[in-house]
Amino acid sequence: MTTAAPPRTALPSVGRVCRTRAGVELKEFFRQRESVVFTLLFPVILLLGLGAVLDYDLGSGVDFPQYFMAGVITAGIVGASLQNMAIHIAGERSDGTLKALAGTPMPKSAYFVGKVAQVVAVTLATIVVLLLVGVLVFGIDLPSGSDWLTFAWVTVLGAAACTLLGIAVSSLARNSRSASATVTPIALVLEFVSGVFMPFDQVPGWLQDVAAVFPVKWLAQGLRSVFLPDSLAAREPAGSWELGTVAIVLGLWCVVGLLLCVRTFRWQDR
């Protein structure tokens, strides 16, 4: 350079860009009526609908709504993470949003931090609404003592695994519609065989084994330990809540999901 270069202004810090992205992602989600209804309200409608129709006693003083809390929160977490990520990232890839972002000096990590912020906010909102409806409409018993801690780590691990898988799955779809058409049935089937909608001991044994490969089953089982009395642990396949296995399997799925993301994530359509 022959001319004197003007002093170079520093690039914004990664933290600042992450905050911007978090704000963008929250607005993108909560301003879109379809995603709010589909992701946030669908589990609430499930709880109200099934809770009103199914009214049987599972023993130990547990009625259906009390049993279903663990299941419907599982469905809420899977919707906020796996389905939400797969569908919206596929959409952002097919409409050029990702390509445009990749052409800016935005640190790539900030995009994912923004997505995580969105998942955290939507998951929290879903859980709060479901607990409120559960308590106010069905009078369910809230967890007590150390169950809250279990609730927290199972939710965090489960949401993390499903978020990473959702980001990975988004690369398989051509656009948000095909992502929705693929991932929604898969999520529903996994939820059915994982004891989300009916007691897990009513699921045929071989289907239980299939379900045990996937994270949804372990997420639901971990949450059952939070919402059900320990006497019902006897109805689980192992006769206990297996919280150690829950942590290991969900942790493994986080690793698998992360590896898949790193290997498959694309910023533009092929």
């Binding site: 690039l11 607005k27 409409d95 050029g96 390509k99 800016t104 000096p105």
Partner: protein, 305 residues
């Protein structure tokens, strides 16, 4: 690197004083030497050389599949290359980091996609990624979207959306702006407004690489045009001189005794003066035409495809 396929114009441009033509010019906005990009067996770009000076508007023309988009996307850092050297603002795009990207503005063909954010929110978010951004409100003013600042992106018309794309492209105060077919789908009035916007950006000193299918657009805006055909740069020239337009014979036409007459001449001024002497007043239906940019462009790509 094999250079014998290069046309003289390109070779002259490539070789600065005291510099071998195989080395890219780090002072140029964009400098490309012997660029090769293959998709499978096919070479989409096959030994392309190009220099774009700082401060100019350069239009890249060429039919679909000629390697235009591939070349531009390699410069933008979106694609890797299989051979040759590329410097964009002195940096190899394959190694360009955040600091390098902060000096670029990219307006993609596809636009920015759907968003729930307002126009102003989108610009503010985009500005926050850059080191020295422009004020989003000033940018809105510049692209004529001030009144739409509060509107959601998807409520905009096609022309307004494209202006938003440009706003997003320039809010980072780029030294180099890529414009990929910016006016496709515009009505004539929207295109003229858009051209005025591009000219005002030029006055701010922004270098621009424009790809377009509209030859009138290239002629209107560009300081120089380059024609890509079959993965190579066929010619680079100012729009009025491309394909020997400037020195090609002019065609004079007029009506005499009720019939249309035409004549080719290399001295149209003298010819018209002579013609004027033969008529008492105006020469009926007088027209002097040179080959249009479209004529020479079609000849150029026709020769090679």
């Amino acid at each position: 690197m094999q250079k014998d396929h290069l046309l003289p114009t390109t070779r002259e441009l490539a070789a600065g004083p005291g510099r071998r033509p195989t080395e890219p010019d780090p002072e140029a906005a964009i400098s490309i030497r012997g660029l090769v990009k293959r998709y499978g067996e096919r070479a989409a770009v096959d030994g392309l050389d190009l220099d774009i000076r700082r401060g100019e508007i350069f239009a890249l023309l060429g039919p679909n599949g000629a390697g235009k988009t591939t070349t531009v996307e390699i410069c933008e850092g979106y694609r890797g290359r299989d051979g040759g050297e590329v410097r964009v603002l002195g940096v190899d795009p394959a190694k360009g980091g955040r600091r390098w990207k902060a000096d670029l503005g990219i307006v993609l063909q596809s636009g920015a996609g759907d968003s729930q954010l307002s126009v102003r929110e989108l610009l503010t978010a985009q500005a926050s990624y850059f080191a020295d951004p422009r004020d989003p409100d000033e940018v809105l003013e510049l692209v004529g979207l001030t009144e739409k600042g509060g509107a959601r992106g998807r409520t905009l018309s096609g022309g307004q959306r494209r202006r938003l794309d440009v706003a997003l492209g320039i809010v980072g105060r780029p030294k180099l702006l890529f414009l990929d077919e910016p006016t496709t789908g515009f009505d004539p009035e929207a295109r003229r407004q858009f051209w005025a916007l591009i000219r005002s950006l030029r006055e701010l000193g922004t270098t621009m690489l424009l790809t377009t299918h509209y030859l009138d657009e290239a002629e209107e805006l560009a300081d120089r045009v380059g024609v890509i055909a079959r993965g190579r740069l066929a010619e680079v020239a100012v729009p009025t001189a491309l394909g020997g337009r400037g020195t090609a014979p002019a065609v004079v036409s007029w009506t005499e005794h009720g019939t249309r007459r035409t004549a080719e001449t290399t001295t149209p001024t003298a010819f018209v003066t002579e013609l004027a002497a033969r008529f008492p007043g105006e020469v009926p239906d007088l027209a002097v035409n040179r080959p249009t940019l479209e004529d020479v462009y079609l000849t150029m790509i026709g020769d090679r495809s």
